[in-house]
Each structure stands twice: as structure tokens, then as C-alpha cells.
Amino acid sequence: MNIATQAESFREGPDVRGHFGAFGGRYVAETLMPLILDLETAYRVAQADPAFVSELDDLLKHYVGRPSPLYYAPRLTKHLGGAKIYLKRDELNHTGAHKINNCIGQILLALRMGKKRIIAETGAGQHGVATATVAARFGLPCVIYMGSRDIERQAPNVFRMKLLGAEVRAVESGSKTLKDAMNEALRDWVTNVDETFYIIGTAAGPHPYPEMVRNFQSIIGQEARVQMMDAEGRLPNSLVACIGGGSNAIGLFHPFLDDINVKMYGVEAAGHGLNSGEHAASLAGGVPGILHGNKTYLLQSEDGQITEAHSISAGLDYPGIGPEHAWLHSIGRVNYVSATDEEALDAFQMCAKLEGILPALEPSHALAFVKKLAPTLPDDHLMIVNLCGRGDKDIFTIGERLGVTL
């Protein structure tokens, strides 16, 4: 499809019913419908309230530590011998990932709505840690649902959540990973409708979550835009970000969507390879369907059963993708590619040794694609890679893969 002939703006979605083209929507049980309608109303009021916006800004600055730097990576650039590579350092945020940008926004909303209890799902544990952090900061009890398989492979984050006062509930159903944690959180929400606020961690779920999470994460792209103008006097030529549900990617991409010369690459997790049947690349290997309140690309069987995703990175190990990405894919505005477990591990080591930064396994997928793309580009090509999380949480997984006992 020729994107130049598309609508004037790519930034106006979703429509009033929460649809991004054929994707998104509000596919939830009737029990949840009144809740998400209330949430949307409260969010619209908050969005328009200068007091809400200034409180959010203040917390992002003084508590989260924003703006995060846009760092020119000289040795990585030299090593790859092509594009000039900048890293958007969201791994320097308080709690070590981009997830807190959204959590701060949502808990402020929860407080405005008079909610007394916070719940969340988590995969890698980054969103769980960020949620536990803001719940502690604002004095609300917090329950985090986490698949028991993820609990095993993300022990440091589980302990962090507990230290922050959260209760971590192991989810034993289904594949025991992120999708099952989300099922369980939705069940909790349906059961405790009056008092509970559900902080969804990615730009997915029923409307208004995909839009709301995107808006809270768009601070990443808004800052990057200004920072790149300051550094180079022009916009970047390309943006690269990893995609599980896709919140860090949409946060970086969204402010640039109408800058038609800025190319964008979303990197899905190809696990053991796209042809292995063991991956988490919903766009490359899935078809549209309905799960967790939205219509989007899903890994599923011919009978419409959701299949298990696989990725070395727990944060990308999800069989779906945010609906706005599904739409951006369908219209061709963003290019979606993938990187395998092995490629991500290589990229992790490359970044650690060349730049002295331990990236999380999630953005290591983005770096793996950069490793292929950057050398093909001229040296005046400006590239921003979203370094959305730090790798400390992953050292045990990486040690195991490298055959090192810690």
C-alpha cells in the first residue's frame, strides 16, 4: 500500500470506539464494560486537566528522572560502520525500564478515581516492579500476577516486587507466562470491581488502555525528537524498538508517525527462529483474532486456540501485539522485523563490551536488528534505538545460556 495516499495523519487513532482500523476495540465481558467506560471518562477528564498534567510532569522529572538522555554511541557506530547510532536511554529511569512512565500516569488516574487497590500483570517483571514502585510511593496495596514460569526465570524482579511491598501471585494456569497472568489479573478485576484499578503494562487490552498507555509512553518519542534536533539539528532517519506488546515502541514511534521520512522498525522476538514454531512474533507468524479485550494479530491454531509464545526474553514472550502496531503493520507505516534468541544474546554482548551498557534482553532484540541494518546505511543516517530496559535482571538467564554458573 502506498502510505503517501493514506489519511493526512497517522496520529489520530483510535476512533471513538477504540478501533485502529480493523484492530483494537473493547472485547470484554459485560462485567467489565461499565468499568472500562468509567475509566475512559475519567481519563478524558484527567487528560484535559492542567493539574493532572503538571503533577505527572513533576513526578516524571523528579521521581522517574526524566528526560532520559539521548546518547550517541560512538563505539557501536564505529563497529557497525554505517548509520550514526543514538540510544534513547530509558533504561536509566527509576526502576530500570520504560514501564514506569505509564505506571505513574495510571496510578495518578487511579487516585483521582478513588480506587483503593492496584493490580497488574507482569512478564519479565519490569512492569510488576514499576507498578509495585508507584503503589508503594502512593501507599496503595498492590497485587502482581505473574506466570510461574516467569517467576522462575526472573527471580531478582520477584524479590524486588516483594521488597516494595507487593504481593506476587503465581499463575499456574495455561502456559504460565504473561498471557495467563493477564487472564488472572482480568479475573481479579472482574471480581473486585469497585475498589480495584488494573494497571495494564503494555499498549494492548480493551480500549482505552492501548491509547492511554501509548500516550503515557509517548514522552519517549517527544523527548527524543527535541534531543535529536538539539544534537543534530534535524530529525532522525530511522527509529528501532523491540516489540512484545509494543509499549516502548509505540512510545518512541508515535510522535514521529507523521514525519513520513522517518523510517520505523519494530523488532519482534523470533525465539528459536520464525520457522521453528517457537517464537513470539505475532505479526510475522500470527493472524488477526480476539484476546484480552482487543482485536489484533495473535499466535493461534487453526481452531482459534491461542498458542504459546517463546522468547529468551520474558518481556517479549506474549502471543499478541498492541492493536495500534497491528494497524501500522497493515497500512505499512512501520516495518516489522524480528531477531532470534541467539541474535539478541550476541547483540547484548556487543553493547555491553562496546558501550559499557548492559541492555535488557528485550532491547537486545532491537540492537540485533541494528547490527544488521546499520552497516547498510550511510554515515549521515541518524538512527535512534530505544534502550527501553537495563539488563541486570537478565544476568542469570544470560549466564545460563553462556554456560556460566553464577
Binding site: 470506539r17 473493547r26 472485547y27 465481558a29 462485567t31 494456569s173 491454531s301 491461542i306
Partner: protein, 272 residues
Amino acid sequence: MTDRLTRRFAALKAENRAALITFVTAGDPDTETAAAILAGLPGAGADIIEIGVPFTDPMADGPAIQEANLRALAHGQSLRKTLAMVSTFRSADNITPIILMGYANPILAYGIDIFMSDAKAAGVDGLIVVDLPPEEDAEIGAPARAKGLHFIRMATPTTDAKRLPTVLDQASGFLYYVSMTGITGTRDVDITSIAKAVTNIKEYTELPVAVGFGIKTPEHAASVARVADAVVVGSAIVSLVGIAAAERANDIPTRVTAFVNTLSTAIKGARL
């Protein structure tokens, strides 16, 4: 509309008693046993049968039905097999209404229009698609109605007076009142609030009102049967199947029949 479901509700109204709606999961614990359970339900006193269509991620269901879904899927249950099971049932029983209840994705994967035709041909009378609220009706609700299948809507304690008309718009068959917030089969029945809610809903609709979620015993069933047009029992039956399956019992259909019989007797005596 002179279809099986409408006729059944009319007949029960004439008898002044509530309908017993029994819920079983298709293919649970395996295809053959499930077919035998299904065949035994009308004789045991089920007036209407809801068949759960297995899905990997039944996010509005509690542990009992989740496990039933996984047991059925582990034995290779599919939407196609579920329709075949209804067909087989229909060759022996052309009276008892059958409602399929499940999630949208398997229907989407099957192909919406083909599914509606196949479901109608198999003898399905109506659909409950849990994750398809009125706001997303056009996709599955409208094609179902176009094929002459009832598209049954749900109301819950969170559905307030402002929202109820939205839920009732285009609703047909009956209204399924989910008697508590939460997931299937995890809390106890509060009969006072149920009675109040049913009375309230009846001010807005002529449709029969069925009450479900949390009805576990003949006593619960009888008390709900006094205030509603139909009583849905699901998790209690599904749990019974689960326990029997774990014991590798070979009399699962008989156990289900016996339990359904006690529910039916209680409901038949409720308004005497």
C-alpha cells in the same frame, strides 16, 4: 418466533415453573464421555442446555471451567467437533434448546458466516459470546441473528439503569443475568439482591431472565427459581465432571444425571 427456545420458555411459563439450564463443556473430559453426558441431560431434567466451547484463555471463567476447557482441548476438542456433537444430539432430540457459550476467537478462526450456517444446520439455537459486548455487536451478533440464531446478552450487577437499554437492544432468546461480579462459580448466592435485580430488569424487557453464576446446590436452584425464569447451573456440574475424571471414574454421565435430577426436582417444587 416459533423456535425451540421460544417454545420451551412459553411451555414452562404455562406450567408456572422456571427452566433449568445446565452448562457442560464440549469434549470434557473427552469426546465420547461428553456426548454421553449431553445425551443424558434432557432425561435428567435439563430444560435448556448450554454447551461451553473450549478456549485456551477463558478469562471470564473460574478455575473449574478453565480446567474443563484445558481437559477438552487436551483431548483434541475443536469448534468443528462441538458442532458435530450437537448434530448427533439433535438426531435423537429435536426439542431441547441448545445454546453455545464461549469466546469470540474460535468463531473468528472458523469463519463467521460459515460458522453461523454450520451452527444452524447442526441444530444450535443460540449463542452467548462472552467477550462480545453490545459495542462490538456488528461482527458476530448481527450475522447470528441474520441466520435465525438467538444472540443472548448478559447483564451483571455492574450494568446500571443507564446501560441496561444498550444491553437489551437487539437481545433475543433470554437475558442472562450474571448474579455477581466475578468469575464463574466462585462465590455464594445472594438471593435478595438477585430478586431485586430481576424485578428491575423485567421493567425493561419482556424477555425471560435467566440467572447464573454461583448456583451450586438444589437449595440455591430452588430459591433462584422462585424469582427468575431460568436457573443456570454450570461450575457445579463441570466440577463434578472434573472430580470424576480425576478419579478415572467410568460412570461420569450417571453421576451428572443424578446431580441434574436433584436440581430439576428442586426447581419443579420451588413455586408449589
